[in-house]
């Protein structure tokens, strides 16, 4: 069973539908016990970091999320979920994150007015190194992004994929042990996004 973490941060239907399509058993839940018991955990989310962290605290999910990562359960962050696993975000006047991964989340400040914020659309992800999550996907393939902020991990060794926007080359996929996180939305990235999610459901972490 895959637990899709529900913390009132946007629409989780697409993640569930993508996993349904792959024939994977998944449950949308906000119960810490269900999250801790899951074989794998997906931590999605859209919206603002401030509201998301408030909801996580109000629902008592912070400890469960840290624990599940620490005990080795394969864990996938998506978009806002990815951003709040870091230590801090510049959003909403500065927000403290879960601190599961070292680093911060920064806002795009385009010098060129043609670079709009949010970045909305398909951008390419250059693979920094091979990884089981990239099985069957070519480096440079495009995935669907919707975001105004981007992850800046402290440890370069965590960066698995990179994407360029507004004169910034940012970490669009990060990983550490059993944890992986994408800034793009695999569940909205067509066939290749489904392949990425399928790779996650089969990922054997050390």
């Amino acid at each position: 069973m895959i637990a899709i973490v529900d913390y009132n941060a946007g629409n989780l239907t697409s993640v569930k539908l993508a996993l349904d399509y792959l024939g994977t058993c998944a449950e949308i839940t906000r119960d810490p016990a269900r999250i801790l018991a899951a074989e794998r955990v997906i931590f999605p989310g859209v919206g603002s970091a401030g509201a998301a962290m408030q909801n996580i605290r109000a629902l008592g999910l912070a400890d469960a999320l840290r624990q599940v990562v620490q005990r080795g359960t394969p864990f996938l962050g998506i978009c806002l979920g990815t951003q709040i696993i870091f230590e801090a975000s510049e959003e909403d006047g500065g927000v403290q994150g879960l601190g599961i991964m070292a680093g911060t989340v920064k806002r795009f400040h385009p010098a060129n007015p043609a670079d709009k914020v949010p970045q909305i659309g398909w951008n390419s992800v250059a693979f920094v190194k091979p990884h089981p999550l990239f099985a069957g996907i070519e480096s440079g393939s495009e995935f669907y992004f919707v975001h105004s902020y981007y992850p800046a991990p402290a440890d370069r060794a965590c960066v698995l994929g990179e994407t360029e926007y507004a004169d910034i080359r940012f970490a669009s996929v990060v990983t550490r042990d059993n944890l992986a996180a994408t800034q793009f939305h695999p569940e909205k990235s067509g066939r290749l996004g489904l392949q990425f999610l399928k790779n996650f459901t089969a990922w054997k972490t050390a």
């Binding site: 239907t13 697409s14 539908l17 970045q119 909305i120 659309g121 495009e142 939305h185």
Partner: protein, 259 residues
């Protein structure tokens, strides 16, 4: 590099996709779910569904159709038409749509943009606007007036002023649908698109007039659009999405190549 998005538009009327010129003489083209699946497999980057008669007939949006589309495709899609408030927006998003397009409702009640952005995130809230050319009228400094209810009513709003206001209110994206170009397949309204796209800081989607790949190339370069809506040129089979993308790539316009 961020690619330019190509977005087929499916106008749905009584459960079928239709196509008309300036919202008139509509003919049936097919089943929305089947067409969405085919265009997604064919390489479109997003889809937009307008329940085009909902607003005028005061009917709710067809949630079953939205849910069926969400099961069939795994790329973003927008739903517009017939949205009466936050509860409708929640139903459409929960059914699996990525974005809501607000048009007439936003003109009548602009705070719905802010409320929607606050409740669901700005990325979910698309302002759809239908400007018509109004040259040499001091009430409309941009040269365009906003119309609503399928071009049937004028609003007295200047197109550029309304676009800026929508951005301030929290819209995540703006679809600029030229009333004058809609359904003609004679090319996008480049002046209008460029005016809006260069004056707001959120992505602008051009709509109305797509007939050839050259029209898309022009709206992505001269028009400064971030994305473009197409309809007749693929609904009739005149072009495939692959053909359109190959023509754009030949002109060095970045588009998604693998799907």
């Amino acid at each position: 590099m961020l690619t330019k998005r190509i977005i087929p538009c499916l106008d749905v009327r009584r459960g079928k996709v239709t196509k008309g010129v300036r919202f008139q003489n509509n003919v049936e083209l097919g089943d929305p779910v089947e067409m969405a699946a085919a265009y997604s497999a064919g390489g479109c980057d997003e889809l937009v569904f307008y329940d085009i008669t909902a607003s005028a007939e005061h009917r709710p949006i067809d949630i079953e159709m939205v849910a069926a589309v969400a099961r069939a495709i795994h790329i973003p899609f927008t739903v517009g038409g017939g949205i009466t408030g936050l509860a409708d927006m929640a139903r459409v998003l929960t059914a699996g749509a990525e974005k809501i397009s607000l048009n007439s409702l936003a003109v009548q009640n602009p705070t719905i943009i802010t409320e929607g952005a606050k409740a669901f995130g700005a990325q979910c809230i698309v302002l759809g606007m239908d400007p018509v050319k109004m040259p040499d009228n001091p009430r409309f400094p941009s040269g365009y007036e906003i119309t609503i209810r399928g071009f049937r009513e004028r609003t007295g709003l200047d197109a550029l002023a309304w676009a800026r206001r929508a951005e301030e209110l929290g819209a995540g994206e703006i679809v600029v649908n030229s009333v004058d170009a809609d359904g003609t397949q004679q090319g996008f309204e480049l002046t209008l698109t460029r005016l809006i796209a260069t004056q707001v800081h959120i992505p602008v989607v051009a709509s109305g007039g797509a007939g050839t790949p050259d029209h898309l190339a022009a709206v992505f370069t001269t028009g400064c659009a971030d994305a473009a809506i197409i309809a007749g040129m693929i609904h009739t089979g005149a072009y495939t999405i692959r053909q359109i993308k190959e023509a754009l790539l030949a002109k060095h316009i970045p588009v998604r190549k693998k799907w």
